[in-house]
Each structure stands twice: as C-alpha cells, then as structure tokens.
Amino acid sequence: MLNLIIEYAPAFLTGILETLAIAIVALIEGLLIGISLTTCSAYSHSMHLIVRCFSNVIIFLPELFILFLIYFAGTEIISAFLHQTVEINAFMASTFTLALVFGCYAYKIFYSNFINMPGGEKEAAKILGLSEKYIWRKILLPSIFQKSLPGLGNLWLILLKETSIVSLIGATELLSRIQFIIVHTQQPFIFYSITAILYFTLSNLSENGLKRLVKI
C-alpha cells in the first residue's frame, strides 16, 4: 500500500500544481470579469439591469452545466460564426467557466460594497481639493477592495473545490491524475481518500492564509 503511494507521489504533486494553476488563472480572469461587470453596472441603469440578469442566470446554473455549455456549445457557436472549425481546448474552457462563476459572485460583492460606500470619504477628499481621478484611484477603489476581501476569500475556497469538476471534460488536474492511477491499480478507495485529504489540506492551508491576509 505504502509502496504504491510513494510510487505515485510525483503524479500527486503534478496534479496539485495543475489544480493550483487552473485555480489561479481562473482567479485572475474572474477578478477581471467581476471588475468589468461592476464597472458596466455602475455606468447606467439599463446596463445595471442587464448585468444583474446575466449574473443571476449564471448563479442559478450548475457549474458542471456551464462547463458543458462553454466546452461543447461554445465550440459549435464560434465555429458557426467564423465558418471554420475552432477547437476550444479543455484548459481554456475550464478556466473560463470557473472564472465566469467566480466573476458573477465577485460582482455581487463588489457592487454591494460600491453601493454601501460611505459618502463621507468622498466628500472629505473633495473638500481637500483632490481630483476626481485621484479620489477614485487612491481612496474609493482601495476601500471597496479591502471591504470585499473576506467575501473574495470565501469565493477562492469555493473555486479551489470547484476545480475538481474540470476533470470531467478531460482537463488534467489532481482528480484526473488520480483517476489514471486508479485505472492502473484498481484500488479506488485508498486513492480517492488520498484525493480527499489533499483537497482538504489545500483548502485548510488557504483558509489559514486568508485569515492572516484579512487581519493585515
């Protein structure tokens, strides 16, 4: 038993690194999506309605289903538009799916903090004679981001767990590596338990890290 685990340890490590890579790429894309949705929604009332509908639709659909939608239907629709076959690779589809879901939840957090922003800060900055651009860049945006940090931390924990579904469309990460190993060894229980432990450690480590980050 122990021999097997040691033998396949490199595969676990690459799996963890791949999972983290997918999660981090999705985090960056997701933050960009969240910020752009918030900007659109702050722009005008009609844009706000459209963005709200869009984010609610995404939030009510299962992640696995969105993954299929982007991976299968996305290929078909883009191919039809460009009049040639385009292949979306599994890594792109999976990071974009995770990012889309992350972005819609992040939009909700950003927007609620944006609406509930204390008016005093802005007025004080205006009285001091600071320019509009400077106020946004140095005072308002940092305060919105800081207030959103605990919520974003929770989203990161969810994102880390959701990366496991991308194995279903053939992207390689921890779970799909483990499934390869199981096909070889025919011992599903022990290897799925190891996967559970690895994911558990990953999310616990990042939870502790996030707690420290929020305290600063």
Binding site: L61, P62, F65, F68, F72, A73, Q187, P188, S193, A196
Partner: protein
C-alpha cells in the same frame, strides 16, 4: 428529446427536494449536538462539517459510490442496498452536504441569541424542552428561513454532479440527448431554461409556503 429532458427535470426536482428535506432534519440534530455540553460529540460534529466543507463534492461522490464498492465485505453487507443504487447514494450525500451547510448557519444564529433571553427563561423556571421549543427554535427559524433560499439554490446546483454516478438527472439527460442527436447548442439552451425554471419553482414555492405558514 424533450421527453428525456423532462424526465431529467423531474429527477432533479425530486433529488433536490428529498436532499433538502433530509438535510434539514439532520441539520437540526447537528445543531442540537453542537450546543450540547458533550465535548467529544462536538468535536466529531465539527470534524464532519469541516470534512464536508473542505472536500469537493465530486470527490465525495466518487469516494462513496466507486470507492466503497472496492471491498468485498461492503458488497456483502446490508449497507450495499444503499450504496448500490445511485439515486439513494446521491440523495444521502447531498443531504449530508445540505445538513452541514445549514448547521453552520443555524449555529451562527443560535450563538447570536442574546444571553438575557435564556437567563430570563431560567428565572421563569421554564423547562429545558419548552425553552428550546418556544425561544431558541422559534428565534432561529425566523432568521433561518430568510436565508434558506440560498441553500436551495446551492443544493440544486450540486445535483448536477449526480450525473457522474450514472444518475440520469437534467445534466445527465442533456449529455445523453447530445450524444444521440448531435444538436448540441439547442439541447444545452433548453436545459439551461429548464434549470432556471426548476430554480424559480423551488425558490418561489418555498417563499409561498413560508408566507402561508408564517401567517397561521
């Protein structure tokens, strides 16, 4: 095509409702246990909640459905009746997830009940049972039901993963239809509409029931 999808919708609906109902009952017991003076029980329950929170749902499904089937003694025991059928297995796992997340919410509400109320009950010489029923449970439920729709949506999204253990719910049905008819975009769009419909029915149904019962 439509018939397969509609059957899938019914399976999703049934799975969500049964998992939510079972999860709610379990959540009450877990919350009761978390507030009991027994330290070992408390630690066990927190370990259970942390396990559910830290491990991806997909890994939980694989671990119980494929992992446990590896052992000869599990297949011969009476437990096999539960593990053999994907629908019962999926319902149980989803119910456990729902119960863990609901229990966290309930525990947070219970901890925020002002101490004075409990002291007042003790001064009035109310029995433990009456205090639990009339003060703590009532207070907890009024706050809990307002956040419960989020839990409904979360569990509805989780049911999509049941398709990985051969249960033909909505996502599974969509995959089947796609493989047969090659009408990928149409199938996925119809499925998305069905998911939104199920979410609307469940959440609004819950709200109507809640309104009706809170008036009595």
């Amino acid at each position: 095509m439509m018939i397969t999808l509609l059957k899938g919708t019914l399976v999703t609906l049934a799975l969500t409702i049964s998992a939510l109902g079972l999860g709610l009952i379990l959540a009450f017991f877990i919350t009761y246990g978390l507030n009991s003076p027994n330290i070992i029980l408390k630690k066990l329950l927190y370990a259970f909640i942390n396990f559910i929170r830290g491990v991806p749902l997909l890994v939980q499904f694989f671990l119980t459905y494929y992992g446990l089937a590896e052992f000869e003694w599990v297949r011969e025991s009476s437990l096999w009746i539960v593990l053999e059928s994907p629908s019962i297995c999926a319902t149980l796992i989803l119910a456990m997830n729902s119960s863990a997340y609901s229990a966290i919410l309930m525990q947070m509400i219970v901890q925020n009940i002002p101490k004075g109320e409990i002291e007042a009950c003790q001064i009035l010489h109310l029995s433990h049972f009456i205090m639990m029923r009339e003060v703590i449970l009532k207070r907890m439920l009024t706050s809990f039901w307002t956040i419960y729709p989020n839990e409904i949506a979360a569990i509805l999204k989780c049911t999509a993963l049941a398709s990985t253990i051969t249960l033909m719910e909505l996502t599974g049905a969509a995959r089947q239809v796609m493989a047969k008819s090659y009408q990928i975009s149409e199938t996925l769009l119809i499925t998305a509409a069905l998911y939104l419909l199920v979410a609307l029915i469940l959440i609004n149904g819950f709200k109507i029931l809640h309104c009706y019962f809170s008036k009595i």
